[in-house]
């Protein structure tokens, strides 16, 4: 079902070309590509061992030098290596949480928009409930309830970030379901499953995709927020936990900029990359924003 035809591959290539042609889009792609490369091969070149702590008082919070390019943290560990390691976890959490969020959002949006009636009302009130709930306090409560593991963080972020997707997908499905070709296929006697699978889904796919990229940015930010507040997995290094420990250990007060800036800049770069790429995609794929 998901096998990509030559035409579809060509159209994906074309879309990528359009993103690349846009200055902001290209900036986003470069930022993301750089982060992805760092996250993929960085830890192999510069492995980070959280147990490799400093042995003397002088090894803690040392400024950048020849041995530690970005100095050391409050336990005397290498900040450069920790930052590279953190990129991996931040991206993984962002991507997996987004996957959960997109699946829920799409299923809710498509069912509500396609079925309408009572199901729509119930699903949309449910969506509204999640939409108006302030996300961060909710995530804090959920994270506190379900514990501090990476998996829990992923699930909690995924479960709280889908309402916007559901709304967007639903509105698109609402218009699609009244389109001539859907009515024609319905008159053919095609089942709802068939209509959704081979017609509705492919038509909302660009929208879902453009939205996905923006959701990832939000998810990475949410992870950093949680971890900074001390709700992350303390054993794993992510940019959020680094900032948390930097704050906890008073690194900021002691002027240890080399401990605070790398994870901070990392977060900004990734989020900015996703947002730039996402907005460009949105402009290309969303018919209403497309400039002709």
């Amino acid at each position: 079902m998901m096998v990509l035809s030559a035409e579809r591959r060509a159209s994906i290539r074309r879309t990528f070309g359009q993103v690349w042609a846009d200055r902001l889009g290209r900036t986003g792609v470069v930022l993301l590509g750089a982060t992805a490369i760092v996250a993929l091969i960085g830890p192999i070149l510069f492995p980070f061992d959280p147990k490799q702590v400093g042995t003397s008082a002088s090894s803690i919070l040392r400024a950048p030098n020849g041995q530690h390019w970005l100095g050391t943290d409050e336990l005397g560990r290498d900040v450069f290596r920790a930052t590279i390691e953190g990129a991996r976890l931040s991206l993984v959490i962002g991507l997996l949480a987004t996957a959960i969020s997109i699946v829920i959002g799409s299923v809710v949006g498509i069912s509500a928009g396609y079925r309408l009636g009572r199901l729509d009302t119930v699903l949309m009130r449910f969506t509204d409930f999640f939409l108006v709930l302030p996300a961060v306090p909710l995530i804090i409560v959920l994270a506190a309830l379900f514990g501090q593991s990476t998996l829990m963080i992923i699930v909690v972020i995924g479960l709280t970030s889908w309402p916007a997707t559901a709304r967007i997908v639903r509105s698109q499905v609402l218009s699609l379901r009244e389109r001539q070709f859907i009515l024609r296929i319905r008159s053919l006697g095609a089942t709802d499953v068939r209509i959704i699978r081979s017609h509705i889904l492919w038509n909302v796919m660009p929208l879902i995709f453009a939205n996905t990229v923006l959701v990832i940015a939000g998810a990475i930010l949410a992870e950093a927020t949680l971890a900074f507040l001390g709700l992350g997995d303390p054993v794993q290094v992510s940019w959020g936990t680094m900032l948390h420990f930097a704050f906890e250990s008073g690194a900021t007060g002691r002027g240890a900029w080399w401990y605070v800036l790398p994870p901070g800049i990392g977060i900004v770069m990734v989020v900015l990359g996703f947002i730039l790429a996402g907005h460009t995609l949105d402009r290309i794929l969303n018919p209403r924003l497309r400039n002709r």
């Binding site: 035409e7 070709f181 053919l188």
Partner: protein, 321 residues
């Protein structure tokens, strides 16, 4: 036995302002291999009449008929499940505005394939593909272009694809609702030629719905002119257009400028069709009719022969000839 027999078909729509009688006791016959043109202005009930056959009207429609049979099979007695089977396999429809009825993100051949997948799931993938290629060639689309997407097709090509789709399950009756309306005249002629060719090749019965009399005259064997939900006149295309017996038909024909005649200002038919929410007393066309007599307002004119199978619903039919 005729391919299609409709006797006394009436369709009412329940609306918030009361029932609207959209089709009023319409009877039609269609032979195999015959092309019948349903003509009339907007809202006269031509589409409603045709879509009542495969039960594709909205749920607010109430359909009554003394008989509706396709190939001797009573369409009124079918259950909804049996009807699903008749739709597309026996009665196929090319919908109005069909050129916009293609999924923009699905290739043409995949869309032509769909009716086969839905209605004949037992067909093997390869056989179905071969049939799609054949169908595309049949409607004049090179099979290799089936891989393309709707935006790569012109309006005429898209209409051809829609026709291929309608023919996918080898129907006996094809209903084409305004199949050439948004096309330019050259393409219109091509599509009409295609429909006639398919009719000859496949022995299909076809109902062609159009508001454009030139389309009907060009493509059809017989025509039925409808007005305000009723049949005004019916007969062979030549008889009806050469010697229209109903003043409405005459007015419609006169509303067309003559390509060889003098330059004249065509002013159409004055007035508007009657409100179908209130029952029509007498002749529906009486208010706009240039030759009406008192009787037209009180007594409904019934269809009666004016020559062979040429029928007209006008009290003055013989007189006005």
């Amino acid at each position: 036995m005729a391919l299609l027999e409709i006797d006394q078909l009436s369709v009412r729509f329940a609306t918030s302002v009361g029932d609207v009688l959209a089709v009023d006791r319409v009877s039609l016959r269609l032979e195999r291999g015959e092309l019948l043109g349903l003509a009339g202005e907007s809202g006269c009930g031509k589409t409603t009449t045709a879509l009542a056959l495969p039960r594709l009207l909205p749920p607010t429609a109430r359909v009554d008929a003394t008989r509706m049979a396709l190939d001797g099979r009573d369409l009124l007695a079918l259950t909804e499940v049996e009807m699903e089977d008749v739709r597309w396999r026996e009665i196929a429809v090319v919908f109005q505005g069909a050129m916009n009825a293609l999924n923009p993100v699905m290739s043409i051949s995949d869309q032509v394939l769909e009716p086969i997948q839905v209605h004949e799931p037992a067909t093997s993938g390869r056989e179905a593909r071969a049939r799609v290629d054949h169908l595309l060639e049949q409607v004049g689309i090179p099979a290799r272009r089936g891989r393309e997407y709707p935006h790569e097709f012109s309006g005429g090509m898209r209409q051809r694809a829609m026709i291929a789709m309608a023919l996918a399950c080898r129907p006996k009756l094809l209903i084409a609702d305004e199949p050439v309306t948004a096309l330019d005249v050259m393409v219109q002629a091509q599509i009409l030629g295609l429909l006639r060719g398919l009719r000859d090749e496949l022995g299909l019965g076809m109902i062609l719905i159009s508001h454009d009399l030139s389309v009907i005259a060009q493509a059809c064997d017989r025509t039925t002119i409808m007005y305000a939900g009723r049949i005004a006149e019916t007969g062979g295309v030549e008889a009806v257009f050469e010697a229209p017996a109903h003043p409405y038909t005459r007015a419609l024909i006169e509303a067309f400028p003559d390509i060889t005649g003098d330059r004249v200002f065509v002013d159409g038919i004055p007035g508007v069709p009657p409100d179908l929410r209130t029952p029509i007393v007498g002749c529906g066309f009486a208010e706009r009719c240039p030759i009406r007599v008192d009787r037209c307002r009180t007594e409904e004119p019934l269809l009666r022969p004016v020559g062979g199978d040429h029928l007209a619903a006008c009290h003055l039919a013989e007189v006005s000839r």
